[in-house]
Amino acid sequence: MVKKYTSMAYANADELIFGNSKFPVKAGLGLEIGAGYTTPEVNYAPRPGAGASKEKLIKEYERITTDIMARMVQIGAPSVVLETEHVQQMSNNPTWGGAVAHAQKTIMEEYHDEYGIKCALRHTIGDIREDRDYLQLRGDKYSTFMEAFEEVANNGADLLAVESMGGKEVFDYSILRNDTAGILFGIGVLGSMDMEMVWSDIADVAKKTGTVASGDTDCAQANTAMFIAGGLLDKNLAHTTAIVARAISAARSLCAYEAGAVGPGKDCGYENSIIKSIAGVPIAQEGKTSTCAHSDLMGNIVMQCCDLWSNESVEYHGEFGGTTVQCWSETLAYDCSMMNVALKTGKAKDLRDILVLSDKYRDPQGYVLAYDNAYKVGQAIAKDGENNYLRSKNAAIECCNIIEEGTNSGKLRLTRFETNALAKVKADLEALTDDADKFMSDNLTKFKQEVAVFKLENYGL
């Protein structure tokens, strides 16, 4: 049952703060997420070649898990979440994923029993719903995909997640051609349709297994835009276009919670601040601590209202200070310690604002995601919450308006190129119909012709 959000969880933006969510989530071994404290969430990838066999893979994850738990105890961290993002072998062979979850949870239980450390295990299933040439969102692989969730849930995973890919074929084509309608169609319409299907089924698995349907991220689309946009001097995509894609992605990723997910949202969903303002769910975020995986222009700001603080992903290997997972978990834990002190001493809002201001004017992406502006995007989504298309369009237009306000204040400075790109996106958006059916029909016709890999059956059309 999908119930759409048409109002805000928070009465005003100032209520948004790290470590606190309207609807905290209990998970794993004594952990409560968004219940007054922040927790590090460590994410890792096995070394290349570790997936050669099931046994090798399990052994690799046992080493990773032990390293993290040991380091957390060594530095006195009160809580930790481990996130295992599946390599394809684990999702394509659900028993592999289940065996890894079991091995990890066994170690975590030992540490919990011995030291009392609060902990939970998130497993993020790979979106394996594709064959070599096409997305195959509803095809033969769907049952394996769902089986992968069930296997990990039955074998120790506490939090179920995925980075789903609906709409990516249209988005990939459109983002490289500045096609605003295509970006909106790929993320806001097709992505949302797929999310509603996938997350209804994941929520059922969670209910059946007593686990938590946590959340999604628009990694496949909005993060692709963010990565292509790159740093200040990169010339691959206007950052103003990238943040419009991000604003739309909030309307899309929200669908998980409407279909039964309860949080925490996935770390690389930079749209999560917007989602938290609407749904009140706890969220994971990553920023300066994810430089091991990628660079972004929002290192501090995204910490503003996180409940879990993550490092995105780091390949497991040795560093001077231990293994990578030990080094990064330690960094995350000290950041969380700082936030938790701020919460206990009544300084949380000051710390939040300092984090925000260190990045707010760095780039239009951070500007729009600053909690005061994120809240406005949330309101634009909730205003037409029942309609996936209209709310996505609202989010995109509100995003453009926010950037214009920023530049008018003189504090947010754009290049002429970014300004022109913004004007084009806004004009494109304002020229779009308000009729969702017409938008759907126009774009189906267009992209069937232009994108060879776009298959209607993926969306039940």
Binding site: A50, V87, L357, T415
Partner: protein, 258 residues
């Protein structure tokens, strides 16, 4: 909420992209670079603007005026694309402009071919693929478009390409270069296997690799590997090969930046 005073922001961060922006607009810069020939100019301009229909119309006008279709590929389409790649390299225009121009140029090449029985001579042939097990192909698509935009014939094997299929394509097509892209650390391992099988068969061509988690250290581990940090490096590596730098060590010297 707290806020910064306008005058304090520069002490916190510097918008180097704003500070260093070129004075000239992209259109003005392009105008300076277009060829002056009155039949070629509209083709080049339509390529820059990414307008496929205008490209075809301008080509038709040039053919009607006596220009040879195959010659127009090098003399008009490639010249127009040269304007686009130069502006991209100089940071004046962005990737989507290049992609749209590349689409327009391919439409133009198809049109020229349809007007003659002659066969155009590409600058060189490149086989492109995404690593086995990896379906993330946006990077490969950019690489392929940029190579085509620079006059190379691209054999695009697609994504999740089995190692043996890559080897078979290289044996059949005999390219001057192979490219491999991967997003994930877990799939990029296939590059080493491709490398080893090529060497087993005595094939020693540059194997340009990049994308996602792929890094210079990893690519340096196998004999044929040349790391490309950005998609735009692919045509530059191909250009270097065409210009005579075929030795892998020399290519690494030029393109390995770290």
């Amino acid at each position: 909420m707290l806020d910064l005073k306008l005058e304090d922001i520069d002490g916190i961060l510097v918008r180097y992209n704003v500070a260093l922006e070129k004075e000239m607009t992209p259109d003005e810069a392009a105008e300076e670079l277009y060829p002056k020939d009155e039949l070629i100019y509209p083709v080049a301009k339509a390529i820059y603007e990414g307008e496929e229909d205008d490209v075809v119309d301008a080509l038709q006008a040039a053919i009607d005026a006596g220009k040879k279709p195959i010659a127009l590929i090098d003399d008009a389409l490639m010249v127009g694309m040269g304007v686009v790649t130069q502006l991209y390299d100089e940071g004046i225009i962005f990737l989507p402009n290049v992609m749209m121009s590349a689409d327009a140029m391919l439409a133009g090449i198809d049109f020229c071919k349809s007007q003659t029985t002659e066969v155009p001579e590409p600058r060189g042939k490149v086989v492109c693929h995404v690593a086995e097990g990896d379906v993330h192909d946006i990077g490969k698509n950019i690489v392929a478009a940029l190579l085509r935009a620079n006059g190379y014939e691209v054999i695009d094997l697609g994504r999740d390409v089995p190692v043996d299929e890559v080897i078979a394509a290289v044996e059949k097509e005999k390219p001057m270069m192979l490219t491999g892209t991967a997003l994930m650390t877990t799939t990029m391992y296939a590059f080493k296997e491709v490398n080893d099988k090529l060497l087993e068969k005595g094939i020693k061509i540059p194997f340009a690799c990049g994308g996602g988690a792929v890094n210079q250290d990893f690519v340096s581990q196998y004999e044929l590997g040349v790391y490309g940090e950005e998609a735009a490096d692919a045509p530059k590596i191909a250009d270097a090969i065409v210009a005579g730098t075929k030795d892998i060590t020399a290519l690494r010297e030029e393109f390995h930046k770290h």
